[in-house]
């Protein structure tokens, strides 16, 4: 055995009896190795007999207890994981609910939107705003519990009211009468009924003053139409569209503007007479001061004449072309189901299908939400990882 082997054996934690014997033989003859062996043994047993100071033991235990008292209760890793998952779940649900309307496609006055099969551009003018207070959900809640018979009865009552309003108008026959109609229709065939309304309007010589179609959710659309129908053909128009869908509301009013019209005409005639006189005075004016005063008066009078003429034209327009506001609301399958008296089986099936559809809709909305926030999450993760690594690196550096 040489010295290298002996030292390797001396450093080994376990030795066989044979190795032990060979090592002892070598140590007897080699002072260096004997010295190394003694050194190793001295080193390994250096602290064996020295007791650990009591103060040290009690101090570190005390420190740990104080540390534990100061520290807030720490959640176990399992609970942390569950809470993290719950937080992500809540975030996705809340985000989906909040953003589902904003992430759904919405089109207003976009007649190139293929899915909606909108009418030709020529039929619609896209200016103005025909939005008015119509709470479709309230209407549905109101309409939903009613049976089909009740709905039909309601339609008949509305038609009677309409006939009465129109009838009164015919009996009274005022010279200047503005007839205004406001109605909302619920329909399963949204596109067809929209086309029918526009076709009937065109046939009777009316026009669309404005049209707004909203689709805030993916399953229901609403068209708000502001139409102008020739007064003499208003009844015919209402008769044409009377058979469309279910009428949810109907109101007609007739405003008599004869007196106001006559007043305006008189004021206009007066102003026109005044204008003639002013022009005569202008031709006879001798000084510059007179000319200035007369021309100022002429300008004021002309303004009054223009204003009164415009007012008369506006009234004529409203008298000749009656304003008709129509809200055409698309019915959901669930709404249709609610209208008729359903059996228990049908209700269960319907509820089940609705739940499936809701889940499907929710999952698709969630997917859209997750995809939409993915870039933000990725960017945040990158920043967090960079900061975490920097902190870790700095901590390691400090430890070294």
């Amino acid at each position: 055995m040489n010295c290298n082997d002996a030292r390797t054996l001396l450093e080994a934690k376990e030795r066989t009896p044979l190795q032990e014997e060979q090592l002892n033989e070598h140590l007897k003859s080699c002072e260096d190795c004997r010295s190394y062996s003694t050194y190793r043994l001295d080193c390994l047993t250096l602290d064996d007999e020295t007791p650990l100071p009591e103060s040290f033991k009690s101090n570190w235990k005390q420190s740990i207890k104080e540390e534990e008292k100061m520290k807030k209760p720490v959640l176990s890793p399992k609970v942390k994981r569950i809470l993290s998952l719950a937080a992500v779940f809540v975030l996705v649900i809340a985000g989906t609910i909040i953003t589902r309307d904003s992430t759904a496609p919405s089109k207003t006055d976009d007649y190139n939107y293929n899915d909606y099969a909108m009418p030709p551009t020529g039929l619609v003018s896209g200016y103005g705003n025909a939005d008015y207070a119509l709470d479709e959900y309230a209407l549905y809640e109101e309409a939903a519990p009613q049976s089909a018979e009740k709905s039909a009865s309601m339609d008949a009552t509305m038609r009677s009211a309409r006939d009465l309003a129109g009838g009164q108008a015919e009996v009274k026959s005022p010279a200047k009468l503005i007839r205004t109609v406001d109605m909302s229709i619920s329909t399963r065939e949204f596109d067809e009924d929209y086309q029918k309304i526009i076709a009937s309007l065109k046939k009777l010589g009316g026009y669309v003053e404005s049209s707004t179609i909203n689709s805030k959710t993916s399953y229901r659309r609403q068209a708000d139409l502001y139409l102008r129908v020739p007064q003499e053909k208003l009844d015919k128009f209402l008769e044409d569209i009377g058979g469309l869908g279910r009428q949810l509301s109907f109101s007609e009013s007739a405003e008599d503007v004869s007196e106001k019209y006559a007043d305006t005409e008189t004021r206009l005639e007066t102003q026109q007479e005044k204008m003639k006189r002013l022009q005569q005075m202008l031709s006879k004016a001798t000084s510059i001061e007179e000319l200035i005063i007369i021309e100022t008066s002429i300008a004021d009078t002309q303004y009054q004449i223009d204003s009164l003429t415009g007012s008369l034209k506006g009234m004529d327009s409203r008298v000749n072309y009656s304003p008709v506001y129509i809200s055409l609301i698309e019915e959901r399958p669930a709404d249709i189901e609610q209208v008729k008296e359903a059996s228990l089986g049908e209700r269960i099936t319907s509820a089940f299908l609705n739940s499936i559809k809701s889940i499907k809709d929710f999952l698709s909305d969630s997917l859209v939400f997750v995809v939409s926030i993915a870039p933000i999450i990725i960017a945040l993760l990158v920043v967090i990882i960079i900061i975490h690594r920097a902190i870790k690196k700095r901590r390691n550096k400090n430890e070294k």
Binding site: S35, C43, I64, P73, V74
Partner: protein, 193 residues
Amino acid sequence: MFRKSKADEFESFIAPYERGIYFTCLRVLGHVQDAEDCAQDCILKAYRSFDSFRGDSEPSTWLYRIAYNCCVDYIKKHRGVISLDALMDEGADFEDESDDISPYLSLEESERKRLLVEALSELPYIFRFPIVLCDLRGIDYDKAAQIMDIPIGTLKSRLNRARKKLKKILLKNRELFLSDDSLIDEGREINEL
């Protein structure tokens, strides 16, 4: 739901290594009070990061690494800034002047250990760490290299030089020792070995 017995769990975890940590600090720093403070700091740090210890390395390696870092911090903080690289250069020109170890062997065990402790305290810190870890604590080279975060070759080289330097100090101190205390019977000691 809440981890309330962490301190108890940690106490049973640290118990087998408590002595090793304390005496590592003591032999590196050389002072009882310093060693107590440093070892206490080390145990507290281990307790704080106990939750994050996943068992990737052996508990002893993990704990001695913390102890090593605590000692380095302690030295820097209490003994002024010490450049370990500079200390390395200090020992580079060391030459083993004498191979005659017999005078050391002639001493009694308790005297040898006393000399050893004194010699350790004279060693530069850079050499103290490998001696304490590998020779006093009996830690394998690869683990000691992990603890000191240096390549194993560097560790072996440093350890070799540390042992030579230690031997030189031992022999020098032994002569002083013998001049102070000449009652040792050299022949008897050699025979006992």
